[in-house]
Amino acid sequence: MTCPMRDDLYRYPWPGITDEERRSLRQHTSGCEVCRATAVRLGDASELLAADRAELAPARRVALWSAIEAETSGPRWGWPALVFGVALAVALLVVVRAPSEDAFVVTGGELVEPSRSLVSGERRTAATNVRIERAAAKLQLAEGTVFTLTPRDFVRVERGRLDLELEGAEKLDVEIPVAHVAFLGDGAAATVDVDDGFARVEVHRGHARVTPRDGTPQSVEAKQRWTHPPPEEARKRHRAQLDRARSIVADDAPAAQKIAQAVLERDADDAEAVDALALIADAYRRSGEHRSAADYYAQVAAHPAGRGYAEEALLRRAKMLRADGDDEAALAALEEAARRFADGPLAPERVALTVHTLTAVGRFDEAARRLEGAADTPAVRAARDELENARRMKNSKGSGHP
C-alpha cells in the first residue's frame, strides 16, 4: 500500500514550503494510514536514537586530553629538552615496572596489571583503579591510591588532591576534584583534571614541573631518575638505529658513534648495549682515538652479554693499546684472552699478536715459546718471520756486522 503524499513527508520541510502546504500535509498525515505509519516509524526511531546518549567518563576525558595534547603540543613550555622527553615518552616508555620490588608499591587502591603495557587503541575504560596505557604512556590512579615510585618518592591521590613528593624536593599539591591522575616516568608528562582546566605535571631527568591552573609553572629538582624497560617498539627502533650506525660507521664514524651512544643512554637491553658498545669502539678506532676504542672494547669483553664478542674485543683492545704505545697493557689484554679463550677460534691470531708484541718489547725467548705448538696459519708464520728477523737484527748488531 502506498500514498503519493508520502514523498512529501520524506521531503518535509522542503525549501520555500508555505504555511498552507504545512497545514495540508499535517491534515493528510493524520488521516492517511500509510503516511501516519511512516511518521510514527521515523518519529519513534528518532526518539530512540536521541535517548541513547553515550556519556564521556571523566577518566576518558583526561585520557583524551592527554593524547590530544601529546599529539598537538609544540615547544610552548620553553623547555626543549622536556618536549623532546615527552615525545620520547610517547614513543619509548612503558611506565610499568619498577627497578625493584620495594620501589613499586601501591596501597589504598588497586594497581591493575603493573607489568603489562597496552598497545595503542586498546584503551581500558572499565572500572579499574589503575589504567596503564601505552598510547599516552600513563598510569591512572583512583582516589585513595598511593603509588610509590621509590621508597621515598610517591604520588598520592587522596580526597581530590594530588600530592607529588619527590626525594630531595619540596612537596607539591595540586587540587583535583576528579581523582584521575596521569603519571609518567622519566621524560614524560602527566595531566590532572582540575575545576576549569588541566594542570600538568612533567618529569624529565629528575626534574618535575607542575603547571597548575593559574599557569605559573613551578619547577623542582628530584634526585631520582627512573628507568623502565623499553617496549617492543623501542626494541625495534634500537635495532634499526644500531643497524644504521653499523652501515655508516666506515664512512661517518662520529655519526655512528653518536647514534650508538644515544641507544646506550636510553633503556637499551643487554644485547643492544653490547652492540652499541662495540659500535662505539669501532667508531673510535676508525677515528684514530685508540685509547678510547680500547676502553670500549674492554667494556664489550667485560659485559655479561658480551661473551660472543669478548674474544675479538680483547684482541681489538690489544691492537688499540699497541697503537697507543702501551705494549704492556696490550699483553695483559692478550693474556686475558688466552685465559678465557684458550682454544677460541681466534687463537692463532692471538698467538701472532702476542708474538708481535713480545718481539716489539724484545722478549724474544718468550715469543718463541708462544709459537711452540701454534697452528701454522699465515698470521702465525708472519709473526715467526718477524721474530726471526728481529733476532737476526739483534745478533748482527751485537757482532758488529752490517
Binding site: 493524520s30 501516519r36 516509524r41 536521541a50 553515550a54 590530544i68 584503551r123
Partner: protein, 208 residues
C-alpha cells in the same frame, strides 16, 4: 544542545504531528569572539558534544576505543584548523563539521563498516538500562537495535545528515555549512535517508 526532531509525538500514538521548530528559519550566529579560542578551551567546552556526536554517528557497534580515536582525530584536526577559523559560523557548527567529516573518513573503510555491521548483528545490548522494568528495557533494546540495523543500510553520507538533522537538531543550513555542501544537497540526502530508513524499518517490522 537542544534536540529537535522533525517528528514528535503529540498525544497518543497515531496523533503524530510535525514539529514547528524545524530550524530552517534558524540563523547561524556568527561566532563573535574568535580571539581567545584555544584548543584547551574548545576541548573543555565541547568535548562532550563532540564525543556524543561522534558516538552517535559511528553507531552502537563502535567501541569506546574507536570513539576515542575519532574524537582525538577531531581535536587534532581542530588544532590544525584553528588558525584559519574566521568565525563565519558558530563554533559548534564548525566543530560538528570537522567531527562529521572525520567520522565519514573513518567510515570510508569498507572493512570497518562491515565490522561494525557484524558487531551490531552480534550485539545483545545496545541500550543502557534506563527504565527499571526489565521487559521494557528489553523492548527498547530490541527497538533500538532494529533502528540501527536499518540505519546501517543507508550510506554514511545520508545517514549522517539524517542523524544531524533528526536527532541532533541541526538546521539544514547548519548541516550544509558543517559538511561544506549546498543546502539543496542536504535536503536531497535527508529525503533519501528518510525514504530508505522508512523502507528498512518497514521490512524490519514485517520480519518480526
Amino acid at each position: 544542545m537542544v534536540v529537535t526532531r522533525a517528528f514528535v509525538a503529540a498525544g497518543a500514538r497515531g496523533g503524530y504531528v510535525f514539529a514547528s521548530a524545524l530550524g530552517e528559519s534558524d540563523t547561524p550566529r556568527a561566532a563573535s569572539a574568535r580571539d581567545g579560542l584555544t584548543l584547551e578551551k574548545l576541548f573543555r567546552d565541547h568535548v562532550d558534544d563532540v564525543h556524543r556526536i561522534v558516538a552517535r554517528l559511528l553507531g552502537p557497534a563502535a567501541s569506546d576505543s574507536d570513539i576515542d580515536d575519532v574524537v582525538q582525530q577531531v581535536f587534532v584536526a581542530v588544532h590544525s584548523a584553528l588558525p584559519r577559523f574566521r568565525g563565519d559560523s558558530k563554533v559548534t557548527t564548525w566543530l560538528y563539521g570537522i567531527a562529521t567529516r572525520t567520522v565519514l573518513g573513518h567510515l570510508r573503510s569498507g572493512r570497518r563498516h562491515r565490522r561494525m555491521v557484524e558487531t551490531l548483528e552480534a550485539m545483545t545490548q545496545v541500550l543502557p538500562a534506563e527504565t527499571a522494568h526489565p521487559e521494557a528495557q528489553a523492548e527498547r533494546r530490541e527497538a533500538l537495535q532494529r533502528v540501527w540495523r536499518a540505519l546501517m543500510q543507508i550510506k554514511p553520507k545520508k545517514r549522517v545528515v539524517f542523524l544531524l538533522y533528526q536527532v541532533e537538531g541541526l538546521s539544514g543550513r547548519e548541516i550544509a555549512e558543517a559538511l561544506d555542501v549546498r543546502p539543496a544537497t542536504v535536503h536531497t540526502r535527508l529525503y533519501h535517508a528518510r525514504r530508505e530508513l522508512d523502507a528498512a524499518l518497514a521490512r524490519e517490522e514485517t520480519q518480526r
